[in-house]
Amino acid sequence: MKRLFKNTIKTIVIATLAGTTVTSCKKALEEKPYSFLSPNNFYKNENDAKIAINGVYNTLYSWDLYKQPFWNMTVLDDDHVSGADWFLGTTGAGNYQGYWGVDGPWVGLYSMISRANVVIENVSKIEQDIDAEVKERIIGEAYCLRGWAYFQLVQLYGAVPLRGKSLSEDPNPNVPKSPVKEVYEFIIEDFKKAEQMLLPEGNPKSGEPGRVKRGVAKAFLAKTYLTMASGSLSGAQISVRGGQDNNLYTYTKSVVAGLEGLDSRVYFELARDKAIELLGDNEYSLFTASWKDIWKKENRNKGENMWELQSLAGTDLFTNNLSAYFSAFSTFGRGAVWFTNNHYRDYEVNDLRVLQGVKHNYEMNNASKTKYFYPSWEAATYKTIGGVTYNNNGTTDDRAYVIKYEDVADPTIANSDAFFPLLRYSEVYLIAAEAENELSSTPSVKAYEYLNEIRGRAHASLVSNLTQQEFRSFVLAERAREFVFEGIRRFDLIRWGVYLQVMNKISAGQDNISKSRSEKHLLFPIPNGEMLSNEAIKENNKFW
């Protein structure tokens, strides 16, 4: 019996060893990744640094940001936009939480911030195989993109958590909201660092077109100052054309929450000085030969197009639906977003921005090939062109389609390569004009100069003899004319503290799009996921 047991045990041991083909368990249990890289063997040289910073830009092209949510939520929600109710029924009607992409801006911008943090930390540590200037520049790009992301966040969400380090450096997931003013200080610091580290446009080491350059950082610095200045200005009046009747209504602006008590004059001055400094750098220029040149494919990343969302035709990841949604020619038949007749009437008849910038005659892109003209009240000019008759039923056919996003590689497909402007040089002029106006009781010669630079380029009449309040109102309207559908108007109305008043004056907009808004609409809701998991944030934005 004993012997039997001995034998048995012996046999078990032998059989086990023989039967198992494993020689080393440890080795067998090591994981061998086939399809991905790990951070341990990365961030070693200049090429790695570039690849890392490119990953930060990538967030722009995510389903959280410019694949749709970011432009949907910031472009469709203003007084001038109209469109198909199936598309504008959510964010366009103030129903943010009805929109699938409602969390997008928050998630996408913070994703950008986290990747920028990783770049700032890891690229700083690369000492070999990297050009010192390029290294600086890449870190500068990261600061600029991080600053840009926080600048969007503070305008959309108000007080937000400030995360200046990556999760591996600071693993605390629970960061409380910082007050609005602190967030602005952080943004200013980032843009200042970026301004120092980035290289000017034209410098061979400044990087390929499409990257942020020194001028971009300067312009955003000026824009940040301007946003703080206009937001904190108290008691001022501003007139906005609108309501049902498109009359000029004068409102007393509110102070943007969180900016109370700021000396707005100081910031207007900073904004003006930075804008003027950039204009003096002479690195960029307006397209003056033809206004339409701004929107031509061949002029992408050129001239006044300081920074744009970079698309790539023929790909799925780097294309968007801007062309299909905003252009007259669209895979939907005709576009889903147009601007209102009232806004159209804000332009002079000869203003190139409507004369050339709005599609007056177009054909339905479907079997019907129905021909349309716009606007119905300019039938004399546009109804019959070269013997061909165009239609307009005077109501639902009055659609002002812009040409901004129509010059794409292939307009017949939904995913096209439209570029989206993130910064145009003309805004620098208007920043200078707006800030200059606030610094003297009557508009200065300089103020008119900056403003008329933009008016003149569009063949609009030059302005003069305005009071400070009129000038202020005029610049706000001019920005709407210049930047319609470029993601400017909603931010402008909010920073000037008139968003609610302007929107509610309209109430029910063209094409039955609701413009009624309440206080909650001033800030977007913080995503549920953040509310549930960030223990340091107890309350969502007001009324959400």
Binding site: D245, R345, W377, A380, N393, G394, T395
Partner: protein
């Protein structure tokens, strides 16, 4: 075997078992209602001493959930305008009450009623309409509006008019000598001026087209008709028979009418019931001039007066055409226009 049967039945019962919901009957409190205070909708903890006709209020109290009737000094609140739970009633005070101030509230529930001595005061008068809006001295003008209890004076411009009769919502007055200007109504609760102006500066049509004006309509057959067709004032009005998108158009032969000194265009319109909800667009001169006004016909069978500032039409300096165009694409809409004037 008997055991088996038991198990068997158990199984059957189990397998067909479906949870039954028990409806718990709520015990109703049969105590009569009680009122403790009245507040507005915004500040629900601040008791009001008084409110106005037509205000939304909250009546606070107890045992109110079975409220079926709310009486404001004999005027009942409409069913669709009150909502009660146990401790509150949200209700709209009727816009016309018998007394200028003392209008007690009585709440009736299934189990009794309670009267609450509460002051609801008549606010300033409101002038909604005057018909006709144009008239000769001695004509009778009906002013409609609200809060006309205890009316003391009615003025046309600065001139007193003779009051023929008045109800809380309607005053009939005689047009005084100078028949141009805002109408103001004064009651013991205050004074109000009409938005629009009575009378006109230039008559394009009252009973006939003014000199130099002619009909240039397209696809909108029209005619000058006389009573018994609807006529606002005088003997006749213009009848317009719209086809879809049809344009009723009046043309002035040169020289065009100089608009210097004119501020607005005014006319009265009477629609048949089929036209309700339809849209009409008014242009001056031609349709490519910036500015127009849209009218959506709200009511039929009565004269409605419209007045638009000329700035709505791009402030033209002279007038050659007036076009009143059907804008819903609806065929056979019939409207009448009278007293088409410039002010």
């Amino acid at each position: 075997m008997r055991n088996f049967k038991k198990i068997w039945i158990g199984i059957c019962v189990l397998s067909t078992l479906i949870a039954c919901k028990k409806e718990e009957g709520k015990k109703e409190d049969t105590t009569p209602p009680q009122i403790t205070s009245v507040t507005d909708l915004q500040h629900r903890s601040t008791a009001l001493a008084t409110c106005d006709f037509g205000d939304w209020i909250i009546i606070k109290g107890n045992n109110l959930s079975t409220t079926n009737k709310i009486d404001f000094n004999t005027v009942l609140a409409a069913d669709s305008l009150f909502y009660a739970d146990d401790t509150t009633i949200t209700v709209k005070v009727p816009s016309i009450l018998p007394d200028v101030l003392n209008n007690p509230i009585t709440v009736f529930t299934k189990y009794g009623s309670v009267k609450y001595g509460f002051q609801i005061k008549q606010p300033e008068p409101v002038v909604k309409n005057m018909a006709p809006a144009v008239g000769d001295p001695g004509d009778i003008v009906t002013i409609t509006g609200l809060n006309f209890i205890n009316v003391t004076t009615v003025k046309f411009g600065n001139e007193d008019a003779e009051i023929i009769s008045s109800t809380p919502t309607e005053i009939k007055v005689k047009v005084p000598q100078s028949a141009y200007g805002h109408i103001s109504v004064t009651t013991t609760s205050g004074t109000t001026q009409s938005q629009g102006v009575f009378g006109f500066k230039y008559a394009l049509f009252t009973d006939a087209l003014a000199t130099g004006w002619s009909n240039a309509s397209y696809s909108a057959p029209n005619a000058v008709v006389t009573a018994p067709s609807p006529v606002l004032r005088g003997t006749s009005s213009m009848k317009i028979n719209y086809a879809g998108w049809g344009g009723f158009k009046l043309q002035k032969t040169a020289p065009y009418l100089d608009l210097n000194g004119f501020v607005s265009l005014k006319f009265s319109l009477y629609a048949e019931s089929a036209a309700v909800g339809k849209k009409i667009r008014v242009f001056l001169n031609n349709s490519s001039t910036p500015g127009y006004k849209d009218i959506t016909i709200a009511e039929s069978g009565k004269w409605l007066t419209y007045e638009f500032p000329l700035s709505d039409f791009g402030s033209p300096t002279s007038l050659s055409f007036i076009e009143i165009k059907e804008y819903s694409g609806a065929a056979t809409t019939v409207v009448y226009i009278d007293d088409l004037v410039l002010m």
